[in-house]
């Protein structure tokens, strides 16, 4: 067609963008870090070895915990009708309205030496337990990460279960297979792609998570070691090698998952509408699933509750609830010199990131799904890469590029002004959500509707404007909302790339506030509450727009 060359030109621009801001930083880091002396230093140094082992352990334990929480919940949701089922999707997303490292602030009030749990224990005459010291820190990091990440696996599983044709299970039942056997032989194998999609994100995410261990002071973790090494990068380039090692293991985890679970389950999905196979338990039993959902939601909401209580408290020490309530922390949060600028900064970075992510994401989806260009699938694959490549790697790569290339240091200098760097970093990290959301919309919209518009005289551009984009509008909005709201609360890029107080985004400001002795953590909590409310509104809007389909955007 006559527009093909324009489509190819746009695709080339998108691939060039991904090459410059996704592949180049990875190559920059690998270029420096792939040095045998540095790698030998990583594996011979006890501290780095321990950091790696701890990161592995956190990833493994967190992922297991996530499975233990998400799997039963997803099965309950799929198999039963219960009171409050319509609300359960929204409730499950509660953990996502708070970055885990902010949740850690609240958690310290619960598990601290003079926190809620220890106060309860001492009331019962049991000696206090040091939850946040020694091995306690490890378990706290795992628990808070699991409580934050389980919705990703849950949403994937619910979507995968919803797509399974109930007739497949009925056929097995018809042939005499019992419940457990049907689950083992039919349901579970067909769920593998969904398990992989959610599980691999959780595994890679928890392996590379920076904010939570940093907040708990759990420093013997690779991500924190890399972060702490930034300051002395000139004299000690080992963090580059650490990044290479982290990238290698993250990619290995992702590929092993893909190999073991990622094969597409052919012909297992329902085309068109399938009747729900959910049953309604009789009598009091119908409240059982509701109770399980409520308990998990309460547990997952504990850091939020603690954060809110801390934000409102003047003093919370050796009591179950805060002793004095106040609005002072909110006032202090808003009047602190780094707070208001950080909100403005975050808004600027995130709006810029959203604009880039939506533009690039829509073009990639169109190229791969609609225009079916050669190279479209490559762009789609590249756009998914940030899910397997830790954010810390990309951020570190930008840092390396700004040092390495003169032209880059002029426009992309984190010390001078990280606006472009942070905006693009956020956009690249959130690109997978936009691409998956828009691609899902395009795949569900028959191409014939666009052909019809062309047939009735609309040009390619008018067709895009009047037919294609309005038809995938909900998906587009959801992708944009995710790009925007997750950018507002992004952690690793923000901690690494925002180096001057005047350029701090919200998350970096919360981190800095939490480090101030005395009232610092209280003010940080108050600021965290503002952030939480903001993200909650964004996710509720996304949930309202997409309903059950929201899980489809957390897929690889």
């Amino acid at each position: 067609m006559e527009n093909k060359w324009i489509q190819y030109l746009l695709l080339m621009l998108v691939i060039a963008f991904l090459g410059a801001f996704l592949l180049a930083p990875i190559f920059t880091v690998v270029g420096v870090g792939l040095n045998w002396h540095l790698l030998a230093e990583v594996f011979s140094n006890f501290i780095y070895r321990e950091g790696l082992l701890n990161s592995f352990a956190i990833a493994a334990v967190t992922t297991i915990l996530v499975f233990l929480i998400a799997f039963p919940l997803a099965l309950l949701y799929n198999r039963y009708d219960f009171p409050g089922k319509n609300w359960s999707h929204l409730l499950v997303m509660i953990p996502m309205i708070l970055p885990p490292f902010v949740g850690a602030l609240g958690f310290q009030q619960i598990l601290g030496h003079y926190g809620v749990v220890n106060t309860l224990l001492s009331y019962c005459g049991i000696p206090r337990v040091d939850f946040l010291g020694g091995q306690g820190r490890f378990w706290s990091v795992c628990l808070i990460e699991a409580l934050h990440l389980y919705p990703i696996l849950y949403l994937n599983l619910v979507t995968a279960l919803g797509n399974l044709d109930p007739a497949l299970d009925e056929a097995a039942r018809n042939l005499g297979a019992k419940k457990w056997r049907r689950f083992r032989k039919i349901t579970f194998p067909l769920l593998k792609p969904g398990i992989f999609a959610g599980g691999s994100i959780v595994l890679v995410w928890s392996f590379t998570e920076l904010g939570t261990p940093l907040m708990f002071g759990y420093n013997r973790v690779t991500a924190v070691q890399i972060f702490n090494g930034i300051m002395e990068l000139e004299s000690n380039p080992v963090p580059y090698a650490l990044i290479v090692v982290m990238l290698f293991f993250a990619a290995t985890m992702y590929l092993s998952g893909k190999f073991a679970l990622g094969k597409t389950a052919l012909n297992a999905t329902v085309k068109g509408s399938a009747g729900s196979s959910a049953v309604r338990p009789a009598g009091w039993r119908r409240w059982l699933p509701t109770t399980v959902f409520a308990m998990v939601t309460f547990l997952a909401g504990l850091p939020h509750i603690a954060l809110i209580l801390t934000a409102f408290s003047l003093r919370w020490y050796e009591t179950i609830l805060p002793r004095d309530f106040t609005l002072l922390n909110f006032e202090n949060a808003l009047s602190h010199q780094i707070v208001l600028p950080s909100i403005v900064n975050s808004l600027n970075y995130s709006l810029f990131a959203m604009a880039i992510a939506v533009t690039v994401g829509v073009l990639i989806s169109l190229a791969a799904v609609r225009w079916k260009l050669r190279g479209g699938m490559l762009a789609d694959l590249l756009a998914m890469l940030p899910l397997a490549v830790p954010g810390i790697v990309i951020a570190f790569g930008y840092l390396g590029m700004s040092v390495k290339f003169n032209f880059a240091s002029e426009y992309f200098n984190p010390v001078e002004n990280p606006f472009l760097l942070l905006g693009i970093a956020y956009a690249v990290r959130r690109l997978p959500y936009v691409v998956r959301s828009v691609s899902a919309g395009l795949e569900q919209t028959p191409e014939e509707l666009e052909n019809a518009a062309r047939n009735f005289g609309a040009s390619a551009f008018v067709t895009l404007k009047k037919i294609t984009l309005p038809l995938v509008f909900a998906n587009l909005i959801v992708g944009a909302l995710f790009a925007f709201s997750f950018s507002m609360l992004e952690v690793s890029d923000s901690l690494i790339l925002a180096q001057k107080a005047e350029f701090y985004p919200i998350t970096r400001a919360i981190y800095e506030l939490s480090q101030i002795l005395g009232s610092g953590p209280f003010i940080a909590c108050a600021f965290g509450v503002w952030a939480m409310l903001f993200l909650a509104a964004a996710l509720a809007a996304a949930g309202a727009l997409l309903g059950d389909k929201i899980g489809s955007i957390f897929k690889l």
């Binding site: 067609m1 509707l449 052909n451 518009a453 062309r454 009735f456 005289g457 040009s459 009047k466």
Partner: protein, 345 residues
């Protein structure tokens, strides 16, 4: 009214697997022309090439002597009724029908007049404000037709538009579409695999198989005098009789020596002829073309009865309307009129 000339059109989606082999076709102005063939024969591809939605590998298309092969779809004025209607679910019935007129920059009052007229024509005026998902299949089909008619197309393309409707509605819609095309003097090309649809509606039809046109004719001629075995069997049930035409003019077949009108002037050699089941007569005595056959099966379809006979190891199917009682296993005399035996290529 538009005359359509298609010459040398070819198309392959995979190298070495042609969907359309060099294909020539001429559609007269104001004609309701049918492309008829089994699934995968290339008829829909040809229609999409005419609409500009698929690019041909070679060949040319002319509308009234104007070359349009390279013209983008939006500039061809070849409005299409899609198989699944392709109605935009985010727009109302009125907006769907008005879309083409809006895009072409018509005045608001003109758009309103045309949309109302088009909806009136398909008896959908009262549904103008309705959303597409709230309509039944038949109503959606009418809106799709109204949308195509509203833009006053140079050429109307219909891609199996009735395939999703039930049998009764299909009958009604056949008559409606034909009425509208005749009333508006539209040149229309209609793709279908339903022979009843093609035979009952077409001015002329082209039977396609494996990317080539086997025969172009009026429905009557194509049915009564098919040129080859494929067309004969695709347009209706047929009995095929093979034999050897001797130099002395005798046609030796497994059923005995037969005679048919079309064999006059043919060279000696193998000769295949076909006869429609309704043309064979049972129990009619004749000195020639009479065959003794045993009745092996019957199937009653309501308006007629289909008898299966066996003669010299060959099966012959005969259709009779209002037949008398006959017994399975008995032998009957079948008469094959020479003028009803059509020699095939």
């Amino acid at each position: 009214m538009t005359r359509v000339e298609i010459s040398g059109i070819t198309k392959s989606y995979q190298p070495g697997v042609p969907v359309l082999k060099p294909l020539n076709l001429s559609v007269k102005p104001g004609e309701l022309f049918f492309l008829l063939g089994p699934s995968g024969c290339g008829k829909s591809t040809l229609l999409r090439i005419l609409a500009g939605l698929v690019e041909p590998d070679s060949g040319s298309i002319r509308f009234n002597d104007v070359e349009i092969t390279k013209l983008p779809p939006e500039k061809r004025r070849a409005a299409m009724v899609f198989q699944n209607y392709a109605l935009w679910p985010h727009l109302s019935v009125y907006e769907n029908v008005a879309f083409g007129l809006r895009v072409s920059g018509e005045k608001k009052s003109e758009i309103d007049r045309e949309v109302k007229a088009a909806l009136e024509l398909v008896h959908m005026s009262e549904y103008a404000s309705r959303r597409i998902p709230s309509l039944s299949g038949g109503q959606q089909q009418r809106v799709a037709l109204a949308r195509a008619l509203a833009v006053k197309p140079a050429l109307l393309l219909l891609d199996e538009p009735l395939s999703n409707l039930d049998a009764r509605l299909r009958d009604t819609m056949r008559r409606e579409i034909r009425r509208i095309c005749v009333e508006r003097k539209l040149t229309a090309i209609y793709v279908t695999h339903d022979r009843q649809e093609a035979l009952s509606m077409a001015d002329r039809l082209a039977v396609m198989d494996q990317g080539v046109i086997c025969q172009i004719d009026t429905p009557e001629k194509a049915y009564n005098a098919p040129t080859d075995k494929f067309v004969a069997s695709f347009l209706g049930d047929a009995n095929f009789i093979e034999g050897e035409l001797k130099p002395d003019g005798v046609w030796q077949t497994a059923l005995g020596n037969l005679s048919c009108d079309g064999m006059t002037g043919k060279l000696a050699g193998k000769l295949v002829a076909m006869i429609r089941p309704e043309r064979i007569r049972i129990g009619v005595e004749s000195k020639m073309n009479a065959v003794n056959a045993v009745l092996t099966n019957r199937s009653f379809t309501g308006e007629s009865c289909e008898w299966e006979f066996e003669a010299s190891g060959r099966k012959l199917v005969v259709v009779e309307s209002a037949p008398p009682e006959r017994k399975i296993g008995e032998t009957y005399l079948l008469y094959l009129p020479p003028e009803a035996l059509i020699v095939l290529q």
